[in-house]
Subunit: 341 residues, 2 copies
DNA sequence: CTGAAAGCGCTAACAA
DNA sequence: TTGTTAGCGCTTTCAG
């Protein structure tokens, strides 16, 4: 089999515990001995067996990352950032995909629990109670959801939604559609709440269409319904749906943003690849991934769990344009004041 | 700490080895005893510690999956398929991203080697020698690359390239551009070779532009160069580049496919989201992911490594149209005969 | 600073 | 069918 600590000990003429120390507590070993051990280890190609180490230290140096759908372009940048950041801290990341299914999600947490030092739950679809139960089995950090007492990093989609609605209002739109996301999504609730409050405060109408699976197809399929409402602007749960809608509207001969304005959320890479380029609320997914890893690894150091909120940014591109009403130039500030809670 | 095999043994009044057997060789234990053990295990919430098990069996039940860039939409469907398929066989998947860097790639293999039962190398950028060295440390299955003696699953991009070029030729194009992919990519070499041979056999011209990083930006940046060649059709290393080029051409007022035809490879989800919809060679990425997992897990059973080639399919959409020459209706069959080696 | 010894949680012969 | 006995490769007291 592979070369073990014993081989190194023998080859360098010391006891295995000295070899062990050389790797896990170098300062406790004589510099000369240390370099000799290191040299033979190097030469033999020795690499500590993490499973064995985990057995005794109780730390696996693995992290679990559970996402709703790897194929959704929202996740890859987050996964990538988390993985790279974790690796830099000598951790490996297990990635698992739940296919948007809360049952699978719970099973995955259980399956991974003993294999990892903690799990990053990204956009979980489980109920709060469910998560509450699971957190006893394994340290959890939740991304894109707020649960009392649980460490979390969320992207402030509420603020983003508010800005987006204000943007639309300022453009002269008075009847908006919110093309909702999936049931069980905290993000979806946040957006809906914030968008609703903002529209209401301005005396504008907001029609909610949904819930929907957060994929292009549902966006495209919603075109008829959107047109049926008579609204002149649509705010979608994510860019995927916004893009699906955008293309579907254009395929029907509806001009965007001439007749209908469309705004998305996430700022996925493809939002600049469609024409018109998509106006959207940028989510700091990479930062969220890194932050979540940090929170998980600090877990225990600073007692009670923190909750970090990351800023979002409205990026105005070409899928939004003037609405049928007079541009409410002063509206932005005015409404903002109202809305500020 | 967590509940161990000893707790279960005590609680159910048997020896730990009986508990062990209940889980790893159920048929060797009395049905009554078994159900009793199972019941207490269930009740105590016992879950075998995989690290401990791995230590003795030598099998971690983990698989490593190394990809060039998670954020490249080519990979997520493959990752997802591999992960789901592996999980069904009770394996977990470590996903790692190399950022297209062969050095990082090699380091990752080494780091993961002891943690996993094998590694799936997807579109590796390393040299053959490098990979040859690494395969001694850990079982490897390579995706999208052929290396003598190494199990591999490849998507037949050569055939796809041939079909694509024939399609273009049949449309009346005689001067094509191949917008190349990254250096070190086997896929890139295959495409180039097949496309070149096919064009040559038909007496058409093929200009190669590259190598390039396989991202939208380079596709967009290549617009000028493409126009400069005077070619009327472009075949890109992947959809990302094709889409970047497509939009960049349109932004310059060049009609696609009116003036220039564009075809990509991969058939990523976004290829139908752009207008015109992209003509492309569909790669069976999900099947590749599943097949690779199977090959890795069968490793050893059937001795020498197999090499599986998966079919690709040309999907004709709207980014390709008539070229300046007479449509060579009969050309397809004719050239195909020539090209068939 | 280094060696000896005792396990981490589990499996795998071997006996009984 | 079940219990006993060794470890897997490593860390961690505790002596020396």
């Amino acid at each position: 089999m592979a070369v073990t600590i014993r081989d190194v000990a023998r080859a360098s003429g010391v006891h295995i515990s000295t070899v062990s120390r050389t790797f896990s507590a170098p300062h406790l070993v004589n510099p000369e001995t240390r370099s000799r051990v290191l040299a033979t280890a190097e030469q033999l190609g020795y690499r500590p067996n993490r499973a064995a180490r985990a057995l005794i230290t109780g730390r696996t140096h693995n992290i679990g990352l559970i996402v709703a759908d790897i194929a959704n372009p929202f996740f890859p940048p987050l996964i990538k950032a988390a993985e790279t950041h974790a690796r830099r801290r000598d951790y490996h990341v297990f990635v698992a995909d739940t296919d948007e299914d809360p049952i699978v999600e719970a099973e995955l947490v259980q399956a991974l629990a003993k294999q990892v030092d903690g799990i990053l739950l990204c956009s979980p679809r489980m109920s709060d109670d469910q998560i509450e139960l699971l957190r006893r089995e394994v340290p959890l950090v939740v991304i894109n959801r707020l649960i009392t007492g649980l460490p979390a990093v969320v992207m402030d989609v509420g603020q983003g939604a508010r800005e987006a609605v204000l943007h639309l209002l300022g453009l002269g739109h008075r009847h908006l559609v919110y093309l909702a996301g999936p049931r069980g999504s905290w993000t979806n609730r946040e957006i809906r709440r914030a968008a609703g409050a903002t529209a209401r405060a301005a005396g504008a109408e907001l029609t909610v269409l949904g819930p929907n699976q957060p994929v292009e197809e549902t966006g495209a399929a919603a075109a008829e319904a959107v047109l049926g409402t008579g609204a002149t602007a649509v705010f979608a749960y994510n860019d995927l749906m916004a893009i699906g809608l955008l293309q579907s509207l254009q395929d029907r001969g509806v001009d965007v943003p001439g007749q209908v304005s469309v705004v998305g959320i996430d700022d996925i890479a493809y939002s600049v690849l469609v024409r018109p380029r998509l106006t959207t609320v940028a989510n700091p997914t990479a930062a969220a991934g890194r932050t979540a890893v940090d929170m998980l690894l600090q877990h225990g150091d600073d007692g009670p769990a923190g909750q970090v909120t990351l800023r979002t940014d409205l990026i105005i591109r070409n899928s939004t344009g003037p609405g049928p009403y007079a541009p409410a130039v002063a509206l932005n500030a005015e409404v903002a004041a109202h809305v500020k809670e």
